[in-house]
């Protein structure tokens, strides 16, 4: 896609994320909007995965460790043709398979996540299998910055470096907020790049809401031969909706009708300046 098309896609995704969150009266709004551009670039530009090859052992794998922002994933998977978008009308409803976290009952979802700190170990196992079977697929996992303190992440980080898993890429959605407060105030993990480096990972940083920059950096994997890669993506929580940006309550806030209309208006207007 051209830069313009990618940017338009992000706006389209953001509008749909909000639409289905409002419909479900539940969802993780801020963190879905912060990672929208990352998912857009991964699925449209970087990964080799589609409804057609989803059962192929050679496909690229995406494991969303920050499972709570499932709305972003579901909207992107629907757009990729994994299931009809109308299915999302049932999000979080009685008997629906579309629940508030990724589940494998939904086509396109690799792993059931939602408890933080689980994605990376599974991704490490998946990448290890790729090495053992001499496959060329890559494994991507998206993590939250608030998720960093879970110890399991760092256990898996050691394993990944030990086995030189350069087919593995972690993307940290560094939107600087979690539920209680800013990540710096809850449990400071800075300097984050130094931590990953000291664990044997190759680190790059990017503006995680810039599709061009994301495309360029994600097409340069592995960042270093023989090392797992981590991309620290600096993002804005609530990106694209003025009153949500960097505002704590939108972690799982659901817009009212008026707020929703205002958000859609802003997103539509942003299309004009692309």
């Amino acid at each position: 896609m051209t830069t313009k098309e990618l940017k338009q896609k992000s706006v389209e995704y953001r509008k749909k994320i909000l639409k289905y969150i409002v419909k479900a009266k539940a969802g993780h709004t801020g963190g879905s909007l912060s990672c929208t551009d990352i998912l857009n670039v991964l699925y449209n530009e970087v990964m080799n995965v589609s409804p057609e090859n989803f059962t192929s052992p050679d496909r690229d794998r995406y494991i969303q460790s920050k499972g709570h922002t499932v709305e972003a994933l579901f909207v992107v998977l629907a757009d990729q043709g994994f299931f009809p978008e109308e299915d999302l009308e049932t999000l979080c409803q009685y008997k629906s398979h579309y629940i508030g976290h990724p589940t494998r009952k939904v086509k396109g979802v690799e792993q059931n996540t939602g408890a933080l700190g689980h994605g990376l170990p599974i991704a490490v196992g998946t990448a290890l299998a790729g090495k053992l079977d001499q496959k060329n697929y890559k494994v991507y996992t998206l993590m939250g910055d608030g998720e960093m303190p879970e110890g399991s992440n760092w256990e898996a980080a050691l394993t990944a470096a030990h086995y030189k898993l350069d087919n593995l890429c972690v993307i940290v959605d560094k939107n600087t907020l979690q539920i209680t407060a800013s990540t710096a105030d809850v449990c400071n993990t800075d300097p984050l790049d130094e931590k990953w480096k000291s664990f044997g990972w190759a680190v790059k940083e990017v503006n995680g809401n810039d599709v061009d920059a994301l495309k360029e950096v994600l097409q340069s994997l592995p960042f270093e031969e023989g090392k797992p890669s981590v991309l620290i993506a600096h993002t804005t929580k609530g990106k694209g909706v003025s009153y949500m940006e960097n505002v704590l309550k939108w972690h799982h806030g659901v817009p009212t009708k008026d707020e929703y209309e205002q958000a859609i208006k802003e997103l539509d207007e942003s299309l004009l300046t692309i």
């Binding site: 479900a24 539940a26 499972g67 979080c92 409803q93 009685y94 008997k95 629906s96 398979h97 579309y98 629940i99 508030g100 976290h101 589940t103 009952k105 059931n112 996540t113 939602g114 408890a115 933080l116 700190g117 608030g146 998720e147 960093m148 303190p149 879970e150 110890g151 979690q178 539920i179 209680t180 809850v186 449990c187 993990t189």
Partner: protein
């Protein structure tokens, strides 16, 4: 009866937990809440504002939370390790087993939004295994208060006993089960909420109220029911259980937990081993991929409501 008590004011037990903790902290500087980005879900934001030195935040790291709590408790702090029940009793189970129970550090492990309170967030966020897991661990009392009164009493008691306790709450406002006439609350002592000779219904936590509601339906069908709030799952009030079970015609247990390993199996195991054999049915969440929905929808789906409980009773008495 259920209609009358329904009119009394009520809140979520979680809310009562937070208020009680604040009240205790007013006069006790040793009360410490430990959280893992969970103070909002635990309704502890006002507590944190009022007593900033009495809340420790560890970030999203539940194993660390329980370990840190154990260390604090070993130094005389009255610790309330507060996080969603699903994470505490799964991810941090080894810390509960070794650092709290085995090492006898008197931590109060507070499992918030327990059972299927998180509804459509799915199985990662449900705790339907916590009674089973903790019943199999020595030296921890396992409690699921049913109403606001039991909750306040349980928190106060937990703060002042020097033993590991696990308490779990939901998010739903819970009506008072009965008006309270200077009743004494003790861990390990069930409360008789309604009395009747035909059937014994035993619940805990948020399932006691629907059991009480079922009493009315059953009454209309000529069936008299006893309802017990068995708030302490371990140690079980076996004296009360044996006494009531001996005189009834059938027994039904109701819990917001897997039908495996929880309140129902605890009762069944005791009764069978003591020669008290009556028609018996465990109502709970069956061993299957849990249906999607709100807590209420999940309850209805599995018959954890007055109609469902009444039906089970009728079938047993047939």
């Amino acid at each position: 009866m259920a209609e009358q008590i329904n009119t009394l004011p009520y809140k979520a037990n979680l809310e009562v937990y937070s208020e009680t903790l604040q009240r205790l902290a007013e006069t006790d500087r040793n009360i410490i809440a430990v959280t893992s980005d969970s103070r909002g879900s635990g309704k502890l934001v006002p507590f944190g504002k009022k007593y900033p030195d009495q809340i420790i935040e560890v970030g999203i790291a539940e194993q660390n939370l329980v370990g840190v709590a154990a260390g604090l408790a070993s130094c005389g702090k009255k610790v309330f390790a507060t996080s969603p029940a699903c994470f505490l009793t799964a991810r941090a189970l080894e810390q509960i087993k070794n650092d709290v129970a085995y090492s006898n550090n008197p931590v109060n492990v507070i499992g918030i939004s327990a059972g299927v309170s998180y509804g459509a967030l799915g199985s990662t966020h449900h705790s339907l295994h916590d009674f089973a897991a903790l019943r199999a661990i020595n030296n921890i009392t396992v409690v699921a208060p049913a109403d606001n009164w039991e909750t306040a009493q349980a928190i106060e008691l937990a703060a002042n006993i020097d033993e590991p306790v696990y308490l779990r709450f939901g998010k739903k406002p819970m009506p008072l089960l009965k008006e309270n006439n200077n009743e004494k609350f003790e861990f390990g002592k069930g409360r008789v909420i309604a009395e009747g000779n035909d059937v014994l219904i035993i619940g805990c936590g948020e399932t006691v109220y629907p059991a009480l509601e079922a009493v009315q339906i059953l009454k209309e069908k000529g069936i008299a029911a006893t309802v017990v709030s068995m708030h302490t799952i371990k140690p079980l009030d076996t004296a009360l259980l044996a006494r009531l079970a001996s005189t009834c015609k059938a027994i039904v247990t109701v819990e917001e937990h897997s039908i495996y390993g929880g309140l129902g199996e605890a009762c069944a195991s005791y009764l069978l081993q003591h020669g008290i054999c009556k028609p018996f049915k465990i109502v709970g969440i069956p061993d299957e991929y849990t249906v999607t929905g709100s807590q209420g929808e999940i309850f209805d789906h599995y018959g954890i409501n007055k109609e469902g409980i009444s039906k089970v009773v009728e079938a047993l008495l047939k």
